[in-house]
């Protein structure tokens, strides 16, 4: 016989799966728009708004399940972690929105392209981290989640080399602030990917790990 808790858990999982898909789309779209010089802010804004709404739904649902069923063991780990992951997905959306607005605001000032720059490589790695985090989450795949630590190391190196490159750039480059901000947003997205990875490991094994 199905437990009453299972019905609620399914509803919560549905919300989180939806959020994972939207968050992945928002980050991918904003980065693509930024690198290719296309204004995608309107679309990203609507995706981000949906993530905010779903995040509230997820929070309400987790509290409802905690109060109604006082879950333990794997149920408790899932519910606790889903609340955190919902926040991480919401942050994905928020940074995607920041990237798309950065482009919208500063694109006209930019003269150079991003092809083969550390920023482009950084962006690609971050997209990979987001995809990995969402897949690991959907499958509760601790092994895949642990791989985020390796990609995070690469992201950190690219982040530092990108900042170093910009520190040598002339301040006459009017788009410098824009590029530094986007670099920072990307690094923050990568951090949230590792948080999701940590939650996935915790759900699957009960082990608390740091992937940063």
């Amino acid at each position: 016989m199905r437990r009453l808790l299972d019905v609620g858990l399914e509803e919560l999982t549905t919300i989180l799966f939806k959020m994972g898909g939207i968050a992945e789309e928002a980050v991918g779209l904003s980065i693509e728009g930024f690198l290719e010089g296309v204004d995608v802010s309107e679309k990203v804004q609507s995706l981000s708004a949906v993530l905010v709404t779903l995040s509230v739904d997820a929070e309400d649902k987790t509290f409802e399940l905690l109060v109604k069923y006082q879950p333990v063991a794997s149920d408790l780990r899932v519910i606790k972690s889903y609340m955190k992951i919902a926040y991480d997905f919401e942050r994905y959306g928020r940074y995607a929105l920041d990237i798309s607005f950065d482009h919208k605001t500063f694109a006209e000032l930019r003269k150079d392209a991003f092809t083969n720059t550390p920023l482009q490589k950084l962006a690609e790695k971050v997209i990979k981290m987001v995809q990995t985090s969402v897949t690991a989450f959907k499958n509760h795949d601790a092994e895949l989640a642990r791989k985020l630590a390796g990609i995070e190391d690469e992201v950190d190196k690219l982040y530092m080399s990108t900042l170093k490159q910009y520190s040598k750039t002339s301040f006459r480059d009017n788009s410098l602030i824009s590029k530094i901000l986007v670099t920072r947003y990307l690094e923050r997205i990568a951090d949230h990917a590792t948080y999701i990875g940590e939650s996935v490991v915790y759900i699957a094994t009960g082990e608390r790990v740091t992937l940063r």
């Binding site: 437990r3 808790l5 006082q70 879950p71 333990v72 063991a73 794997s74 149920d75 408790l76 780990r77 009960g206």
Partner: protein, 258 residues
Amino acid sequence: MMAIYMFDGEKIDIRNLNVWFEDNHVLKDISLKIRGNTVTAVMGPSGCGKTTLIRAINRMNDVIEGSRTTGQIYVDGRDIYDSNSNVYDVRRKVGMVFQKPNPLPKSIYENVAFGPKIHKMARGKELDQVVEKSLREAALWDEVNNRLKDSAFELSGGQQQRLCIARALAVKPDVVLMDEPCSALDPAATSKIEQLIRVLSENYTVIIVTHNMQQAARVSDFTVFLYLGEIIEYGKTKNIFENPQNELTEKYITGEFG
């Protein structure tokens, strides 16, 4: 001479305990060490041996015809099943509170004074002090101090259960066993008993049988999971409820069986 073994700090050390009722092998080779001044919850599905386990700790199974016990239970390093062990001393040192409040058909005062009197532990003013101290420890004094001569049956269910706790404390035990002490109580009375259990653990070692998972999580420091007479898992309550190591424990506490 009574057997004394050098224990390493545990209040209770159960070694290879087996209990049979006639041909029914109820507890199978139980070994368990329980630290002093802690609350240990014993949980498991009906018929798994929880009550038999705690009743073994003050030799209450002895009174059941056809019961047989092997193994040792050391309380403060002394084997309570040793042939030189005095069963009345054991039951004074290890008190018991039952599922349903079972006050004696006497006054509130006499219920608490009963144990110290028969053990000749106190009389007169000293006895009054023991009664007051026990009722205070059971968080009942403020509710009954002006009606000590009233019948215990005039108290509410929750108050009667706290009276039974006071009665157990009056003979100065070290260990208090509780067999589903809240199962017959409403939420408010349950909450009071749970608070009391936490306070009692400052001075006593408490072992509680409970079917209520959340109660075990709220009140206990350690949890034992019994299944078909065997210990499946024993550990810190936080770990058992957050990340049980045994699949049976996981299934039981998440309600997949039981």
